[in-house]
Symmetry: C2
Subunit: 126 residues, 2 copies
DNA sequence: AATAAAATCAGTAATCATTACTGATTTGTG
DNA sequence: CACAAATCAGTAATGATTACTGATTTTATT
């Protein structure tokens, strides 16, 4: 079993204790509350390692930032063009992996993104 | 009906005449064969406009580049970690839009990405 | 416990894909 | 033909992310 550094543990803790999809900088600010001397480079490096290990997900929605997700279960990311938030929706089955398998592709990670308007913003527009 | 500039038309032509998922720079080089004086900024600006209009798709797989797709039908993008190519797979139904609708989200665009190893690379490894 | 090798770190500098800017050119409208 | 609006080519600026460096911490071995 792999033993993580305290910096990597702290980053994972932050990611797993939020239901948002924070950027590297947001995570950096949050981790600094516990480890004031951690550097932004360390956050980036560990996020990269964790993503490569499959311990977290990297989500890109085209807003110029990388977003990270501590929930690695296959789920739907609803990106609202109005409020800019990424909402989660659980999935009953991993549709992508199942369909990809039909063509012989060996999937290890899946990303589902929907662009549009969320329920809350849909109410308040007009 | 909207009338596109010749630059925008040329960019769309290039995107629709390839089954790859090129970067802005690749498109720039390709369009230059027909419009030698076009600038990279023009390519970026039009790709941005076309994406906002829903005429093309922007796909991000985490390799540091934005990729563009002239095929806007909902389909699966298989990103092979070995060869770095994005393979397409057609979908019978737009699963994301259907599921997102259940929670009241109004979807206009969907992106499906699978990370893993493609059939061809799976053969040649080892 | 001591030592060496390997991994990770903080801090900072560099990168480079993308965006913003500017003055010129083209297009649309009457 | 004006006139305004849109788009352009060319270039400069941006800033999120990555790379680098020497110090510190962890792991492995004896």
């Amino acid at each position: 079993m792999k033993h993580y550094s305290k910096q990597r543990e702290a980053i994972l803790d932050v990611l797993r204790s939020t239901d948002t999809h924070p950027t590297a900088n947001w995570i950096y600010e949050k981790v600094r509350e516990k480890l004031p001397n951690i550097s932004l480079g360390t956050v980036y490096r560990n996020l990269s390692t964790l993503t490569a290990d499959g311990a977290i997900l990297k989500i890109e929605v085209g807003d110029g930032f990388e977003h990270f997700d501590g929930d690695i279960s296959p789920h739907l990311h609803l990106y609202c063009r109005e409020c800019g938030k990424i909402h989660d929706q659980t999935l009953k089955s991993d549709y992508i992996t199942r369909v990809a398998k039909e063509s012989g592709f060996k999937t290890d990670t899946t990303i589902y993104v929907a662009y549009g308007i969320c329920t809350n913003c849909n109410k308040t527009i007009n």
